[in-house]
């Protein structure tokens, strides 16, 4: 990585002697200033908390310079502050569990808004909705869909699957926190948010937690998708060193090399989706190339098993979150609409009423 220009460091220093430390992590002055403010707020909130709790129960609050020093090593801000806002929720973050990404938040928000715009859901005519969140981690996708849809649909159920027990514990703490903050319904319990531990790559384990007759309306997944070459080539140091690599890179698999090492999970998600027959599947991907590879895998499956999906889309990063019209191109090779601008981010498949949901922007409202 190129060195930061001395003039920038000087500029940062003149704003606050601590700012160069943060600049080292953010490499962006405006963002560094923001982070300084957020760290300061964090410390103030600890001090406030200490005022109403007996001191012996709380650790000594850190100083701003201590936190800046930790941040300058590349430690993610979210691990220092302990949380990340995502949609309407505050998602707890701990070392060992992947931090929710803004890109994930964007397509999740778009998905929930598209669902809310759908005629029967918007009119309150849909009684229940079953969501399957594979590789759920913090639970950010499933929980924020729940929070957004619960107001319109009385019976929303989320089944979250991950193999990391710490992630499950943290997700439940996140539920409690957001209930406390009034952002999640106090009635949300295990029957609405069922977080189960299983290895998605292990067919027996999955069969045990998703019965063969189980149906879901929506399958969402942000599986590990970074290829082995991309992990060393273009993954940020902070993610590489401080976040769990088994949340980022799929395990080694015989016979797969190069960029395709990032694709391992999609076959499993697609096969599970074939069984669960959801109306919508939404999977995060690394870029447009991976999106197209996944779309080709879908095509290959359809050639054998018959066609399941009536509409296919690839969502890019810069996309309208309300579900309004966006620039769209058609890819005839994989029969998919590519929506928005920027990097390819999500593969979206739909059938039955799911088609109306994702096509709101182009067909029904166009």
């Amino acid at each position: 990585m190129p060195r930061l220009p001395t003039s920038l460091i000087r500029k940062a220093y003149s704003y606050s002697p601590l700012l160069p430390l943060l600049l080292k992590a953010t490499r962006d002055l405006a963002l560094a200033k923001n982070e300084l403010r957020w760290l300061q707020e964090h410390i103030s909130s600890i001090h406030r908390l200490r005022k109403c709790t007996p001191k012996q129960y709380l650790p000594k609050p850190p100083t701003l310079s201590q936190l800046c020093r930790i941040r300058s090593t590349g430690e993610p801000l979210q691990y220092i502050l302990g949380s990340q806002p995502f949609g309407d929720l505050e998602i707890l973050c701990r070392k060992g569990i992947l931090i929710p990404r803004p890109e994930t938040e964007v397509y999740t928000t778009r998905l929930s808004n598209l669902l809310l715009r759908h005629g029967s859901i918007g009119n309150g005519n849909v009684e229940s909705l079953q969501i399957l969140d594979l590789c759920a981690g913090t639970g950010c996708i499933g929980l924020s869909l729940y929070a957004a849809l619960h107001r319109q649909i009385p019976d929303v159920r989320v089944r979250a699957i991950d193999f990391n027990p710490q992630a499950r514990n943290l997700a439940w703490k996140t539920v409690k926190l957001n209930q406390h903050l009034g952002r999640l319904s106090p009635s949300l319990s295990k029957s609405q948010f069922d977080y189960v531990l299983a290895d998605l790559l292990n067919n027996e384990e999955i069969a045990a937690v998703v019965q063969s007759d189980a149906t879901f309306n929506i399958v969402v997944s942000n599986p590990p998708y970074i290829s082995i070459p991309a992990f060393s080539r273009d993954t940020s140091r902070s993610a590489r060193i401080f976040e769990p690599s088994n949340a980022l890179v799929p395990p080694d698999s015989v016979g797969i090399t190069g960029e395709r090492t990032g694709d391992l999970f999609y076959d499993h998600i697609l096969r599970l989706s074939w069984r669960a027959r959801p109306q919508i599947v939404c999977m995060e991907v690394a870029d447009l190339e991976q999106a197209l590879r996944v779309m080709r895998a879908v095509k290959d499956m359809e050639a054998i098993d018959g066609s399941l999906w009536e509409a296919k889309q690839i969502w890019r990063d810069e996309i309208d979150v309300q579900g309004n019209e966006c620039s769209t191109e058609w890819n005839a090779d994989v029969n998919a609409a590519i929506i928005g601008e920027g990097s390819g981010r999500a593969v979206v498949l739909a059938r039955s009423w799911g088609v109306d949901v994702i096509k709101h922007d182009t067909a029904a409202f166009g």
């Binding site: 704003y15 606050s16 953010t26 405006a30 963002l31 200033k33 923001n34 982070e35 300084l36 403010r37 957020w38 300061q40 707020e41 410390i43 103030s44 909130s45 001090h47 406030r48 908390l49 100083t63 701003l64 310079s65 993610p76 801000l77 979210q78 502050l81 302990g82 949380s83 806002p85 949609g87 505050e90 992947l98 931090i99 990404r101 803004p102 890109e103 938040e105 964007v106 903050l181 942000n222 998708y225 970074i226 991309a230 273009d234 993954t235 940020s236 902070s238 993610a239 976040e243 980022l248 995060e284 991907v285 690394a286 870029d287 990063d317 810069e318 309208d320 920027g342 990097s343 981010r345």
Partner: protein, 178 residues
Amino acid sequence: MFRSGLAKNLPSRPLNLLPLRHLHVSKASSAKALPPRLKIDEASLEENFLKGSGPGGQKINKTSSAVQLKHSPTGIVVKSQATRSRSQNRKYARQLLAEKLEEMEMGDQSRTAIKAAIKSKKKASASKKKRRKYRALEAEKETNKQAEVELDEKLDQATTIREENTSNVPLPRDSRDH
């Protein structure tokens, strides 16, 4: 610990525009004289969250939740990255845009102009140095009127104003609380 609770407990520096606005509106005796806030038609807005954010996803753990709003009829663009929460930033971006549009439409009858007038009256007793600084600020605002506005700049401006109001609180070296 996780609540933003911004308006209630102002630390040594203002955190963003909202508490500041609340502060001023509630403190100013003439708050009632302000014209109602402009309502912007959502249909005239182009909203973008990840504009020019470059590569991302799992590969990079970003901390910015910037929101960019474009008002299609006028072409005015505002950007907000004041808070860590996208939903908060969306609100601020709308406030900022409403202020810009008002300033354009109503000139010195706009809320911001009236508030600025109230503020400058208050400042009449302040030191000359401060007054000069403030005027420079207003001039800067003036030239900014038609241009694109970054909330960040706005924040810096707001910061300056508030620092003057609160007897020059130093930059956050360490928390004031300890």
